[in-house]
Structure formats: C-alpha cells, structure tokens
Symmetry: D2
Subunit: 346 residues, 4 copies
Amino acid sequence: MNFASDNWAGAHPRILDAVVRANDGCAPSYGGDALTKRVENRFSEIFAHEVAVFFVATGGAANALALSQICPSWGMILCHEESHIQMDECGAPEFFTGGAKLLPVKGVAGKLTPAAVKSALAGFPERPPHGMPARALSLTQATECGTIYSVDEVKALCAAAKAAGLKVHMDGARLANALASLGCAPADVTWKAGVDVLSLGATKNGCLIAEAVVFFDPAAAKDFIFRRKRAAQLFSKMRFIAAQFDAYFDGRLWLDMAAHANTMARALSAGLAGIPGVKIWYETQANEVFVSFPPGAAEKLRAAGATFYPWVTPGDPASGTMQRLICSWATSEGEVDAFLEAVRRA
Amino acid sequence: MNFASDNWAGAHPRILDAVVRANDGCAPSYGGDALTKRVENRFSEIFAHEVAVFFVATGGAANALALSQICPSWGMILCHEESHIQMDECGAPEFFTGGAKLLPVKGVAGKLTPAAVKSALAGFPERPPHGMPARALSLTQATECGTIYSVDEVKALCAAAKAAGLKVHMDGARLANALASLGCAPADVTWKAGVDVLSLGATKNGCLIAEAVVFFDPAAAKDFIFRRKRAAQLFSKMRFIAAQFDAYFDGRLWLDMAAHANTMARALSAGLAGIPGVKIWYETQANEVFVSFPPGAAEKLRAAGATFYPWVTPGDPASGTMQRLICSWATSEGEVDAFLEAVRRA
Amino acid sequence: MNFASDNWAGAHPRILDAVVRANDGCAPSYGGDALTKRVENRFSEIFAHEVAVFFVATGGAANALALSQICPSWGMILCHEESHIQMDECGAPEFFTGGAKLLPVKGVAGKLTPAAVKSALAGFPERPPHGMPARALSLTQATECGTIYSVDEVKALCAAAKAAGLKVHMDGARLANALASLGCAPADVTWKAGVDVLSLGATKNGCLIAEAVVFFDPAAAKDFIFRRKRAAQLFSKMRFIAAQFDAYFDGRLWLDMAAHANTMARALSAGLAGIPGVKIWYETQANEVFVSFPPGAAEKLRAAGATFYPWVTPGDPASGTMQRLICSWATSEGEVDAFLEAVRRA
Amino acid sequence: MNFASDNWAGAHPRILDAVVRANDGCAPSYGGDALTKRVENRFSEIFAHEVAVFFVATGGAANALALSQICPSWGMILCHEESHIQMDECGAPEFFTGGAKLLPVKGVAGKLTPAAVKSALAGFPERPPHGMPARALSLTQATECGTIYSVDEVKALCAAAKAAGLKVHMDGARLANALASLGCAPADVTWKAGVDVLSLGATKNGCLIAEAVVFFDPAAAKDFIFRRKRAAQLFSKMRFIAAQFDAYFDGRLWLDMAAHANTMARALSAGLAGIPGVKIWYETQANEVFVSFPPGAAEKLRAAGATFYPWVTPGDPASGTMQRLICSWATSEGEVDAFLEAVRRA
C-alpha cells in the first residue's frame, strides 16, 4: 500500500525496454547522438511549436535552471508558498540563479490567483535599486495539493504576470497528470496560455531518470547549454535519457500512465469520503489526495504497512493532521481497496 | 522640512572634525593603523564584552556579511517581512550567503514575536535534505516601523531562536535610537539578551560612512576577514572610518544624537495626533513616525517642500496611504513646527 | 572505430541487467531504499575503510561537490592546467564552491609533482586577507593524458599538500583504469596515500549513469546532503544508480572492464609506435593514447570512419597536431587492428 | 620613509576640504543629490565621451563589479598572473561574477602582450559547453609592476581582445599615474583605444575613499544599479564620495598628484640605480620601484624605519629578493633622500 510518492514506483516496462534497446553500440556523447536529436525534435511535435529542450538529472535541476535563465540574480520570483521550489529543493533555485529571491504567495489548495499575485507585487513596490524587481512567476501544474489550473486560469495568471513584466515558468513535474485530467493538448496549457519555459517531469510518471527543460521560444535558451554544463547537469550517455522520453511519448504512454494514476486517486478519494471521520482537504483533480484521519488512525495504517507522508499548510495549525496520499502509474485497484479497507478498520 | 530619511542629514561637526584630524601623515592601510586598532578595542568597552569588530562600507554590507557568517548557503534566515534585509537590499543577503533563503514572517508594527517565529518554523518542517534548515533569525532594533523591542522581548525572541537551533543577528542600523529610548546599556539588549552578531550602523546617526559588524564571540568571526575582503568591503584608508566611530562614542555623542532624533519624532507624532483626519499607525518609540494624511494632503505637503516617502505593509491594502517621516540628529524643532503648521493648513 | 571517448560506449550487459532487476515494485525514494543502503555500505568494503558515499549525476558534479566541501568560497584549489576541472566542466567547480579559484599548475604528461605544487604556492604567498588561501589540491588518477600516478607519487603529492594545509581531492573518473594498471588495492592509492575525498566515476567504464563522491572520513561529509540536494543532484529513484554500482563491483567487473580498455590502448599504442611518422606523446599507462599523425592522415582516418578528438597542451604550439585516442570496455581487438591498418594506409 | 603603499598616505588637503564643504545641510541620499549628479556628469567631460559612472567603496569592488557586467558566470577573464584581480582581491571577481574563471597569463614586468593573449586563448580552445568561453580581458594601467602600456600597446591588446570576442576592462587604480607619465588625454588610452569599462581609482592618489566604475557605452551599464546595490556598494551619503572626485578633477589636481608621485619614484629609482649591489627590476614608469637589495640590507632599512613590502614573480625563484617601493602624492624629496642615504649605509 504505497501512497508515499509517485517516485517510489519503478519504471514502466516499455520505458525500461527502451533503455535496454538504446544500449546498442557506440554513440556520440553529451547529446550528440541521433536518438537524442530525434527525441529533442519530438518535443516540438508534442507541443505543436518549435521548442528548445534540454534533458537534466532531476526535477529540481529543471526548475532551478529554467528559473536561472529567466530571472537575474537580483530578481524576484513569485511562487506559491507550498510550491516545490520554495519548500522542497533545499535552495536550488536560489543557488542556480545566484541568489534570486523567492517571494512566497499564499493561495488555497496550492493555487495562485491573479489577485494574490497582484497583492504580492503591491506589497513589494518597485524602488530600484533597493527592492529586488520581480522578474518571474512560477506555477505548478498539477499543483502540490493535487489540484489543477484550468486553461483559463493559467491564461489569467500569465496575463497578470506579463502585465507586470514577469516571465512565466511552469513546474510540470506532474504536467501529464494535469493534461490527462484536463483533456487538452499540451500546447493549450503551456505556450498558448502564456508559459515561457516548462520543467517537464517524467520520472514520477513511469521513467527512471527523465527530466527536461522546455523553452517555447528557442531564442530564449541562448547560452543555456553553458548553464546546464556548469551545473553539472549534462549527461555524457544522453541516449539513455532520450530513450525514456521516446517510449514515454510513444502511443500516448505518458498520458495513459497519468490517467491511471488520476483514476486511482479519485477512487481513493471517493472511497475515503464515504468513511466517517475522514476529512478530504482538496478536490482530487490529479493523482494526490489530502486527507485527515481520525486520531490514531494514521499510526495504525502505517503499522499495517501503508506508506504516506504528513503535509502542512504554513500558518494553519489545523493542517497539522493532514496526510498526503499519492497514486502512480503502478498503483493497483487492489492496493486502493486494501487501503480503504484498512482505513475502515482503523 | 526633511523627513525623507535620516541618511539625508550630513555628518555631525564632531564626526567631521575627527575625520579631518585623522588625516595626519602616513598610516598603515587596511586597518593596520593604530587608530583603527584603538577604536576596535573601544567596541569591547562599549559592549562590556570582548568583541570582534569589522568596519564595512554600508549597512547592507554589515547585514549581509554578518548573515553569511552564521547561515550556510543552504540555510534559511527568518526575518520580518518588512525588514530591511528582505525589502531594501536588493538581495545582498542572498548574494553574500551564496543563496540562503529569507523566510519573511508577519508581525504588527515591524516586530516579530516568539509565537510568529514558532509558527513560521512549523510551516517549514525540517525534512533534510529537502527543506532548507532554518539557521538564523534576524531582528531589527529599532524596527523598520519605528518601534522598539524591550530587553525582555529580545530575550524571548533569542530564546525561541536558540531553542530551534538558530543563531541571532540584530540589524542595528538604528540601535542608538533604541538604546536612547530604552535607557539600557548596549550589552543589555545585545549579547546579554542572546544576540550573536550585530550590525551597528552609525551613518544614519551623524556619521559620513561608518558601519560595523560586531561578533560577541570573537571565535565566531573565524575567517570573516576573508569574507569581508572578497566582498570588496575592506577599506584601504581605514583610519577614516575608525575616526568617525571614535568621535561617535566620545562623550556619548551617539546616544545624544539619537535621543535628539527620537525627541523630534515624538514631538512630530504628538503634534500630528492632535490634527483631525491624521492617523498615526504605530507608537513613536524611536525616530520614525508612520502616518496617513487626509486625501490630497501629502501632495500639498510635498509641494510645500516637505520630503517624505510612502510606506506599504505587505498584504494590507489599507496601508496604501501610509507615509513615513524620519527625524535625525539634525532635525530642528523649527522644522517640526513648520511641518505641523503645514499639515494643519493642508 | 570509436576512439572518441570511453563515454561513447554503451553499458556493459551485466550493468544493464542490474538496472532491469532493480525495477521490481516500489521502493523508498531519494536513497532510502534497501539496495542503495546496501551498495553504499559496499563502498566501505571496496575501500577497506568506513566511508561516506553519495551518488550524483555526473563526474563534473562529483568533482565540484567534493571540492565545495573541502574548499571555502574564498579558497584556492591547485590543479593541473589540463585537468578536467580546469578545462572541461564549464566552471562547475567555481560555481559549486561559490567562487573558489582554481590555480592551474603545469606538469608533464598531465602529472603534478610536489615541486610544481610548492612552486605554485610560492608564487601565491599567503597574505591574509588579500590573497586567497590555498585549501585544496586536486589530482586526477588516471590523468587526462592517460598516465598514472604510482602509489608513491600520490603519497608524495598528498604529503606536500598536507604540509601546506591543503585537503586532497582525487578525480577518479578513470580510477578503475589506474587500479587495473597499478594492480594495487583501491585503498592503497586513495586514503592510505592521503586522499581525503574521491570522485569515483563508473559511467565511462561500462555504466549508464553512475558517479559517486566518497569521503574517507565520514565526519568530513557533514551537511553534504544539503549540498547535493541544493545542487539538484539527488536522484529520486536512486535504486537505479545503486544497482549499477552493485553490478560494477560484482566479480571485479569494474577492474576487468578497465583492464580490457587498458589492454586495447596498449595494443593501439604499440601498433602506432611501429608506424613511421607517428609520434606517441605519453606513455600509455591507462586507456588513452596521445598521438600525432603525419600531415593529412588524421583527416583521412576520420573520413574512413574513425572517431577521435584533438588535444592541446596549453602554451605548447607543437602540441597543435596532437590527437587523443580512447579505448573503452567495449573496444574490440578488431577495431584496434582496423584502425592500425587504416593508419598504415593513411 | 613610507614606501609601503600609496594607500598609506592620507588625503590631499583640497580633497578633505571638499568633503567638509559637502557637509552642508540635508541632501537626497543614494546619489540623488545635486553634487553627485554634477560630478557624474563631470566624468563625461573628463573622458570626452558620454559615460555612465558609478561610485563604489573600494578598488576591488570597482574591478569585480565591472567584470561581473561584462562576463557571465560561465565565462573566462584573461588577466596578468600578477594582476590585482588575480592576486590581491581574495576572489572578489569570482564572487561578484558568480564564479567566472580568471585565466592567469604570464608577461614581463606586469604587462600583457597580444601574443601572450592569443597563446592563452589557444591553450583553452572553445568547445562549448565544456570549456568556459573567454569573454573578457582585464588590463592594469599602470601595471602592478609600475610599468605603463603605451597608447599603441593598449590599442593592440584591445584589438586582439575584440578579435576574440572579448570585452576589455581596465583596472585604473593608478590610471592617473599612467596619464601623468604618458601625457595623453584620458580618452586616448581608454575608450579611444578600445577599453569598454574602467575602474578609476582615486583613493591611492590623494582621496579618502573614492573609486568609480566608468562605462564608456552607457547602454552597457543596463541593470548595473542592481549589481551595485546587491553588492552593498551603494553609499547612502554619496555626496561625500562625489565631493572628493570634484576636488580631484579641479585644476588637474589628480594629474598633479600623480605626476609628483611619479617624479619621486623616478628620483628614487635613479638614486638606487647608482648604488652598487642594488638591482632595479623594471623601468620606473609610474610611482613604483622594484628592487633587490644586497643581502641583509632590507632588514636594516626596515629597522631604520623604512616601510616597504616584498614582491614575488610567480615561477621565478630569483624574484624572492624583490622589494616594492611605492611613492605617493605625499612622498617628499626629503623622504627619498633619506631613504637613499639609508640604502647607501645598509
């Protein structure tokens, strides 16, 4: 009963097969091989736009490098106060940008609103050179709270950002889950909505190690190769990363895996909602469920072999009992049923 | 009618005289001269404790360098959301620490409370290595809102910080104003209360260029000479900085100048409080008054030659009309009276 | 006929099998899984000493992170002027250390000598805080020129370093090649000889993505988990890295692969030495051969399908014709023979 | 008998008077005052070109900030191996640029040549993204060895730099000494010769604290105000810096002071050259003399009250006896004569 994280799951067999197949003879290193070039081009098809794409080692690297390209070291990046870049990357964005400031913004269920963005900016009036000028907005899609921005919501946020002169970054560690839920094209919720640069994660969704930075304006990626290299994020045997993305996109595998994880999460959420004393915090729109169990139940569930982590909303003492349950491409109906049964018993 | 800032005032004649007197013949550079050594020792007398003191160019440098010594690049510094390090230094703390994160904490009238500090820490639970570990707390005394922490308040904050494993930095850009108001010894509100390192500003209070970092445990200043030098903050003709501090401390000049500025501010505040339609935001405990004038009045006052800046409380739209008035050692009663008269007319 | 780099080769089948086998069900992420823990412990056996080991994404990351742990941002790192950290990592060491200085030192055939180290230090006399204090020495084993330090040579360099107060880092991107050639135990040429921290590369030698930082004093790795994380070098699905090292060490696979590469390089070198007009620059002690062909020959060889890169010795115009040939675990005798035949024709 | 450094001298009376006069009433801070604006404009007259000028605290700050504007964090800066930025600033250039690499280049008597620059570049072939791309060349005028580049030499170096795509920085800590010796206009040896950005020092030449960064293309200074501020190099009471430069330029005081220092150095050099056993290392073109005394003499001179420091040429053991003697605006003929007499005795 693993609901600790989608990165506890292994790789989908088709992903692994692709890695094995890629191990065929010699190939130029550092991305000079034919497979890498082909897969890089494939991103342009997926997003229906010419893009510049760069594979990196981790989601944190994708975020931090993307931000370092759109925000100078003296700039400010607005983000949700529960976002991964603010809470979970040990300062990688600050490090890679050379000391940019993340301005944490509050928002219900992990979501930013144009009003909240404007209010945050108003509280940090531009007084060059004293205050750091805001230069970027970072959105997470799906959010850290398992909610999803609609296309219109992304558009509205990007418009608010652009009006303030900000570039927009999207942390798409779980973009596939959002796309599977929204049913829209990748382009709709990214560049067509105003996103400048995307961190596209695949590791959590069935790959081994596969993360990418995607610039929707290739010219905006100028000199990015130097940033990636000096951050020691340029793999020598790049084909093994490219191969994963290749299989990931083949036959819509990425969306199918994400859809499965979402379905499992909704089943989990629906089941939990029917159990007395269980509180569901946010609508389950992607593959995460946030829940409070009756006192003592979480301990019993863990003792019974279930894995999941606590989650905290800054400034809300009531959130102290919240638990986060994550489903992945590998979560089975049986696991969900067993967990629900265990909750009923606990 | 200058109420824009205490750094609009010039230098006190006794300070300037000391600079002139220091210009006597040759002297070793980079702080190797006798005057610098003597004045550095004088800090130990002032604080009734052996200290390590380092002169730097600006208050921002003092803050950022001090913080870089007590917080690693992957650490987090708690500070008030309106503090100078968060709002006014263009990211110097992030730069000098190599990317540490400032966690802005809310608090009425520029003041932090132990409860607010604990709540902020609770919202950022330690999960090594994902979350940045909190390593420092930065207090401002007097605060950015012209309020002052009592000795007991500083003690309580330092105790809360120490309990969480944090080092404590005090931004003392206006420490003299706080001391003049509290009437306590410098030691009482610094090391005796739990402060580890102090930025002692003198520029705003009658000097030309005179800022210092003061470590209350000299051993904690290990390698700080390298930090200062590589930050290009080591003056070659150091004697001209030392001379200012020498005169500053002579005959309690620093406390007298600060007391005068405080007195002027209180007179200003008292006068304004009696004028219908004028709102005083915070108690005037140091040399700053925060005020809202009736609509249109601020414009008339500025047209009449008064200088002052707006001030904003993040997240409080009502604060949009707030103005900050600052008095200095050079503010005259006539200036205050003339301004009050102008307000009454406006 | 691939002699461009050992990272053009794919993964050894046993390495790939281990990755496939590791993909079994769920496992804690970020290195919390049993396999990772087991393999981390295995490093202590391999080095006959309790070590702290950290997997990272690239050899550049291993070097830069290791150096950042032993050299402060105001410190200086001595290294060979042709070393990978100086020439090939786009400033990763400078970035990760927060701005430390690499002091390039000359030396024949990629090797440093105690005399050269002492001379370099003498030319940069310590004058705190003006000059950066030297804090680390970085050696490469095998060197960038395909030569190998004997155990005694490493000892002598470490002794010179220690006498000057420097920590010692070894770039072991090709340590396996050195060990296979020296025939000594891993401990002999590392911690027993005075090395403090090692970058152990496995990617070039038959893995997909497998690099590690090894501290021979676990206490010296304090807080390193934060450095790795904020550098975005902490893999979530760590078991796939651990699995590679597991197979790498199994049955001495790593040493066998390296020995094979060395043997191929010596065959190549011996064959080339017998061809008129071909100049061998350095003794072929590991898996690299540095050679100058007669005018026009390199172009013909490349046209015939051979891959290899030019190499330059800074300051030596004569080196302008040098070519580097690298053999790997996957290089076949047939490839070597075909290349030699092509050289004879060219 | 102070020959330790020109920064051991105090301020010229006319400089100090200007500071005293500037202390007149209130004035906008952070450079918003009328005097600062007037003096900034005056730089455009001095250089016969519209410039953007920024006052900073130290010469190291001027150098490091200027370089950070023209070289990205992944770029390389060529400089003389004895230059101040390489040897004496404790890594400030590396810190301010965010980790750029300084590539030290050898050259006789502190001077770079186009050939040496080209050779250094050839030894560091561009292989994006592995090698750091060279982006800047830094010259020192007058050099650290008291020699001076002719206008033609600066032109040739700038041409070589431009041909390689490098921007050119001039460290003009002692530019006045060079101008006084060359007899050319400030424009001739700076922007007209190809220099992009200049650090203009005045502290060593009769000021208290007065250093400036001068961009010859104001557009190239975009966002520099943020760099200066976040480096904590923006003085609040800027008028006291501006006042020094005002007096500095008045009536050619700067050139007169520098000419005096040069004259004293030449007298010193000429006198020393006539003393048996004394070796003069470099031609005395500015205000510094490099000399070796017979064994034991340096100690006797120091015992007699003379102050001077040793100087080392990296890689030249013979240079171990070298001493550096510096004259300043305040050096008197009597001091020179007394020192020469002491040398004859010693």
